[in-house]
Amino acid sequence: MAKPSDLVQGTLDLLILRTLALQPMHGWGIAQRIRQVSKEVLQVNQGALYPALHRLEQQGWIRAKWGESENNRRAKFYSLTPDGAKYLRQEQAQWKRLSSAIGLVLDMS
């Protein structure tokens, strides 16, 4: 259901992992944080967020734990595992290579 305006497939995982690298967070918080940091440019499709979280958990890159949210509600907090951190580093490097390559092509005059 990824519409063109949405994130490119695969980048959502990257953004989630990057966000969780800062601190453990619940799904809602992740969506908010991505929006804020990207200065409202990136809108996380909420329908895709949760399946992505569950998939990442299954792959072992993040871990979930129930906790108390800021507004005292029970919330599921996700945090990065060591394997997840490793994967994130690889993917980040990959992304940087890719985006600079695309930049080079687009800047061709």
């Binding site: 909420q46 399946p51 507004n71 599921k76």
Partner: protein
Amino acid sequence: MRWYYKLPLRLRSLFRKDKAELDLSEELQFHLQNQIDEYVAQGMGPQEARHAAFRSLGGVEQVKEECREARRMNLIENFMRDLRLGLRMLRRNPGFTVLVILCLTLGIGANTAVFSWVEGILLRPYPLVSDQERLVTLTGTVRDTRDETSWPDLLDVRRSCTLCETLFVSKITGATLSIGERAQVITGSIVSANYFDAIGVHPILGRGFEPDEGTGRNAHPVVVISYHFWQSRFQGDPEIIGKTQRFDNVVHTIIGVMPEGFYGTFVGRAMEYWAPLSMLEVYDADSGILEDRGARWAEAYVRLKLGVTRNQAQQEISAIAARLATEYPATNRGRGIKVWPLWETPFNHAGHLLPTFQIMVVVSIFVLLIVCANVGNLLLVRSFARRQEMTVRLAMGASRGRLLRQLVTEGLLLSVCGAAGGMLVAYWCRHALALLFPGDVVYLPGQIDGRVLGLTAAICLVITLAVGLVPAFQTRHLALADTLKNEASAVMGARGRAWFRSSLVVLQVTLSFILLVGATLLMQSLRNIRTTSPGFSTRVLATWIPLEAAGYKAPRAQTFQDELIQRIRALPGVEVAAYARATPLGYGSFSSTAIAIDGYEPQTNEQPTAEYNEVSPDYFATMGIPLRSGREFSRADDENAPRVAIVNQTMVARYWRGQDPIGQRLQVKGNWVQVVGVVKDSKYYSMDEAPRPFFYVPLRQYFSIEPDIYIRTTQPLQTVQTALIREVRALDPNLAVFEMITLQEQVDRSTSHELVAVALVALFGGLALLLASIGLYGVMSYSVSQSARELGLRMALGAGASNVLGLVLSRGLLLTTTGLIIGVALALLLTRLLGNLLYQVSPRDPLAFAAAFAVMALASAAACFLPAWRATRTDPMRALRAE
């Protein structure tokens, strides 16, 4: 992520679906609540905010389903799917599947059987006995050669040993039960009173021995019987306790019945009864030997305390033995006590079978390697056939990891089936060893316990990885484009990856060749042992009559013996007959004595001893042992005549330096006797023993109540046996006669251990040969089918059938030759391991190598010929058009 994070998660999603569902709802609920709060903060009405929140999530149920989907793709479900897929693949190729499982069954079965024998015979030989890993056995030593120990010595060890938890004696013995006209001997043990407590096995009916039942000469005629004896002789009588039974003509009270599955503590025999030490004299004719420090007969076991090593125990026990040697120089000078691990126990079958099993472990591992190579090869061939399938799956986006996992799952399926088959084989074979002991009641069971199962599981795992990863190793090279195009046809013997399959074949040829050499060497050795002259005539018939059990005492027995031998000599066809107390190569031991010789000065610390046999006149004539000088014993050498002896040549060489000893004196058990003759050496205990000093004394002067009878005759055994029973019954209708055998049978029985080694190694060698031939055949068939185009082309260009035949054969023989060359090199190094199993055969015997070489070469030529012949039938037109 580490498996320990993953596993609970995966199990939860599988088994705790409800909890996972609740979690999921709650998680989404939290999200919606926050979203509603935000919309309300932006100024929406509560109802409106609620709808908007649901809309922005895009359908709660849909999201939930996607989350479930994300969770479901986990290891266990993948595994189940692989399993189903694997089963389907195996069902689709039943011939292949059966062949692979058969190979694995043979390989795993061979290993499991050997390990179950090692477990049941060497490592934990005594079912139900507790803490067997801490059990060791004790024997005496005289200046480094083994001897028995005496009970007083053992009592001192028991008192002084701080590292021993318990010490007990268990000495094999037999009792005669007469059933009709045939006498039967049942096997039992004379045990110390603490026996049942020490081994931790207690009677299911009645009681074990009281401490005081171990002492007092003949004071406690009580007996504990085995479950089998209880069932077979007393029909499981529940009132058995307190009933009586005659053992060797002494009435014993039955005080206990042991549980089913308890066979006592003697490797090779199942015990039927246990009698206390106090009854020793009933079973062992010498009197007073229990209290005599110089009477050495006992076989003892010690359980070491926890954490004590055999070396520590040996040091302490040696120190005790050294103390005894100074305290009792008359009996213990130069004597020690040796600690043996159970598997080296010299006084039962364990010690004899140990070298065979050492070889068998190596051999069975060889067979397993051959099986792995063979199955690996078969799977490899099939993985080429499946290359299309793999490539398509790769192209469709399957990860290499998934393919690998599927291959390993298939390997697991195969090896689990093989392991199950192997366990069955081992289970069926657990009593097979006993079959190799001719005409003998031997009990040598394999034991399939947790440790054997564990080992089989480990083998299974290794095979799984090996056979699963070999094809995976090949898919590693899969390049999508190459294989999706139709497989390019290959040139005979020039395929890039053929080396791997070829080296597997070479490995099989090499290992099979080594096994064949081993089998051939052992066969030669057995033939040497069995054709070596034992030094006496093997067609002599032997038997005995249990007079003691029938209540005969010495004078009556003597009269009976005299009358019987007259009657036997008068039988038609009987040339000559005689008596002797012990049979050469039999189970009974010869009498042993310290000796002194006029004119021979023993070295300090040397106590010359020799063994001897008590024989009647005509013994040497009957046995066909040639007299070298002097005379045979005659009827005049009776209890009233001066004591005399006949010595063997080795004794002359050692104690008289080769001088003629006739007329010289020899001290036997403290009495001086005169040497009247010299006879040729013969075999006494085993066919492969070195010549030993030995002498003979007249039976009349050293009387024995029930000697063996030897008959030299031209009549068949059955006739003589029937006639003998008739004569015995004419003298005393209550007497029974023991089974009559030829001395050849005695020789065969005494070489059973060698036969076991030969039979097993030959069997495994044959198995290896078969497997290697299958492997070679498989590889050759495959390369022929793969190079059909090349062969067709060659034939179209004018190559004749003989050229094609030569081409294929030469490639197959190249593999064989390579394997054989490596095999010869390795076998030259390895056959030395057979060392002490070989009798008068060099481990590098050229004949054995040549024979094994010829067999292997023939087998592989046969394996290559069929594919080669099929190659000549290639139709050039069809082969070329197929492209």
